[in-house]
């Protein structure tokens, strides 16, 4: 297990008897350099894994907050090659870095070529929200050739059979989308999360990360009781949106939120 794999980060967290904190931002938001600065801030303030969003024109799994950020990144002409540049800059910190991407940009770039360039940028793998293992043979083969993490999603509506099929095809960790709905911060955590994590863990030894709109340390602590990782996205995006006029203040607020969440995952 290489030190930049997500499994390593989860194992470290487990050895410290805590959950891992996975932080998401779209590449190119607020611009390419701004996204690099923000993700490095999240690394220094305590994120164990960075999830870099590849901005896409038709993000069916994202709520309005992340949609708006991705839209802004696209309006800044963020290209797939820019995303790989962001991966390289963030992975250079030594923190495992994965890309979260809808499928068409990868298919367009070329699956083999994307896997090669992601690996050479130091990326650990992909989270693929709109393909399932039964539609992802090409990616699975390309990832297996390069030992890249394949992070597929499970959902409360997944049957036990599908959860088993999905986890059998994952490497790194399993992404549990614990509300039936899209990304976005919520005021209460979902009671669907616990049972989903339990059903998932019954099929695999891989760590299970939960994404369901966590926005503060208290919610992170709640999820960390039963999950191996807490995935946070919209809350980070919102902090940057709220401080769009003052980048330095935005980074300070981002750091403060990360520290709050990092305390939360320490249970």
């Amino acid at each position: 297990m290489s030190v930049n794999s997500t499994a390593h980060a989860f194992a470290t967290a487990r050895s410290e008897d805590r959950a891992a904190l996975v932080g998401y931002l779209p590449a190119g938001f607020p611009d390419v350099q701004g996204s690099i600065d923000a993700m490095r801030t999240m690394v220094s303030a305590g994120c164990d894994v960075i999830e870099i969003g590849l901005p896409y024109s038709d993000p069916v799994m994202d709520g309005p907050t992340i949609q708006a950020a991705a839209q802004q990144a696209l309006e800044q002409k963020t290209r797939t090659t820019d995303v790989l540049r962001v991966v390289e800059a963030v992975a250079a910190t030594g923190t495992p870095t994965v890309v979260m991407t809808y499928w068409n940009p990868v298919e367009r770039y070329g699956v083999e070529r994307f896997a090669t360039d992601l690996a050479s940028a130091g990326g650990a793998g992909l989270i693929t929200p709109d393909i399932t293992p039964d539609s992802g043979a090409e990616w699975i083969a390309a990832a297996d050739d390069r030992d890249l993490d394949k992070i597929f999603l499970v959902a409360p509506s997944s049957t036990d059979e599908r959860i088993a099929m999905t986890t059998a095809n994952c490497r790194g960790f399993v992404y549990a989308t614990a509300v039936m709905g899209v990304t976005g911060t919520r005021s209460t955590t979902s009671d669907l999360a616990g049972p989903l994590v339990a059903r998932t863990k019954a099929t695999t030894d891989l760590p299970v990360g939960v994404g369901l709109g966590v926005s503060n340390g208290a919610q992170a602590r709640e999820i960390a009781q039963f999950a191996d990782g807490v995935i946070v996205g919209s809350a980070f995006v919102r902090v940057l949106q709220e401080h769009s006029a003052d980048r330095a203040a935005g980074l300070r607020a981002l750091g403060a939120l990360t520290e709050d969440l990092a305390r939360g995952v320490r249970r």
């Binding site: 896409y56 069916v60 959902a155 999905t166």
Partner: protein, 416 residues
């Protein structure tokens, strides 16, 4: 409805692939719902009572079979026999009523109480609201905010029918974004809600299911042509946006090797200008809204905004079965510009007293360009069936502007 399903070489395999196209590229959260729908649809299609019930509703409520009308003046003018499949005379004014009645009937059978739908210009939204009212289902329609402003009359129609209309502000605030939002909503409400998809695109089983509900168009036309003229047509033609009216017509003729099949795509300002929606003619293979198909996209795989004077054809993707029919050469897909379509709209109005939807005018315009070749091959008896998929009432606002008709201070397109 005859010949349910399509197990032929032109149909989909178990996983919804038409050759290289189709499939199901979807979030895991929706797979259970798509599996449930797949089972329910296959089960319903194998149930004679369901099929009969659908046929009865089409006949008693929607007005099927629609007429196959020999446009004699137009035929005389162009030197070939031009037959119009009059889907414009259906209840709600287009072929779309077939699809929504089928899907809503299936929704009832599945025990769900609510439907959601996306709409571009509002036609599928109005049809969905109609079907929901007919079956007593709750209905929410997602419509791009840009489109709700362009098509306020259709928003009012949907509301009149009891539907809730939600304006979608994200992305380009048009049809593709309405689909994204409806898919998001479906993820959250899937246990009691069915998604009435508006065209023969999207993830499996939608392309095959929507085709099955629309294929009455072609089944009727084939029978009517044999009955009225004692022969099959030399060609069948339709406009193609997502492609539901086209696949509905084409399916009955796929195995008739002597019948040429043409789909006419929205060429907008002209394919060479980049402002068009000719997805098969000018797009490239990709994945959009859950299926591999031809997509208008940039070099990074981002969907490119499409352009057409016809809102109903203004979509950067296309049904995967059309991509397959194009790739294997069974059908040809050619672009028709805005200007050509508008000329055909006026021509049909003045020659036959029929104002077609601008969508359908694309099919007619393309057909007229085709006729010299058809006549060269088949002589003056050359026969072509054009799918007149909808009526043009909804397009009078556009026509007023294009042709400089009357005076309208009403940007909703209300022709009064």
């Amino acid at each position: 409805m005859s010949g349910m399903g399509d197990e032929s070489r032109f149909g989909a395999d178990e996983r919804g692939f038409f050759g290289n196209f189709g499939g199901r590229f979807m979030p895991e959260a929706l797979i259970a719902a798509l599996d449930e729908l797949d089972v329910a649809w296959r089960d319903a299609m194998a149930d004679e009572a369901f099929v009969k019930s659908f046929d009865d509703i089409l006949a008693d409520y929607a007005g099927a079979p629609s007429k196959l009308y020999h446009a004699e003046r137009l035929s005389a003018q162009h030197g070939a026999r031009i037959l119009l499949k009059r889907e414009d005379l259906n209840h709600t004014g287009a072929h779309k009523i077939r699809n929504v009645l089928g899907q809503a009937l299936l929704t009832k059978r599945m025990g769900k109480t609510r439907v959601i739908a996306e709409t571009g210009a509002g036609q599928h939204g109005v049809a969905s609201a109609t079907a929901a009212a007919y079956f007593g289902l709750d209905c929410t329609v997602y419509m791009g905010a840009v489109d709700t402003r362009r098509q306020a009359l259709n928003v009012a129609r949907m509301q009149m029918l009891g539907a809730e209309v939600i304006a979608v502000e994200s992305g380009s605030a048009t049809l593709k974004d309405a689909i994204n939002e409806a898919l998001r909503e479906w993820v959250a409400s899937v246990d009691h809600t069915a998604y009435l998809f508006g065209t023969a695109a999207g993830p499996h089983p939608f392309p095959s299911m929507v085709r099955d509900f629309c294929r009455g168009i072609g089944d009727e036309a084939r029978e009517q042509c044999l009955e009225q003229f004692g022969r099959l047509p030399d060609a069948v033609t339709a406009c193609v946006g997502g492609g539901s009216n086209a696949i509905g017509l084409f399916t009955a003729f796929l195995e008739d090797e002597d019948v040429a099949i043409y789909g006419f795509e929205p060429g907008g300002d002209g394919v060479e200008t980049g402002r068009h929606a000719a997805t098969i003619f000018a797009g490239e293979s990709g994945v959009l809204h859950g299926a591999r198909t031809f997509v208008l996209q940039d070099q990074d795989g981002q969907t490119v905004e499409s352009h057409s004077i016809s809102a109903g054809l203004d979509y950067p993707g296309v049904g995967p079965q059309h991509s397959h029919l194009a790739q294997v050469g069974r059908a040809r897909y050619l672009p028709v510009t805005d200007a050509e379509a508008m000329d055909a709209m006026a021509l049909l109005a003045r020659t036959e007293g029929i104002i077609p939807a601008i969508e359908s005018a694309h099919a007619l315009a393309g057909t007229l360009k085709l006729i010299p070749d058809l006549v060269a091959q088949h002589g003056p008896e050359a026969t072509v069936i054009v799918n007149l998929s909808g009526r043009g009432d909804k397009d009078m606002g556009t026509a007023i502007e294009w042709f400089g008709l009357g005076r309208s201070d009403d940007e909703t397109g209300d022709p009064r």
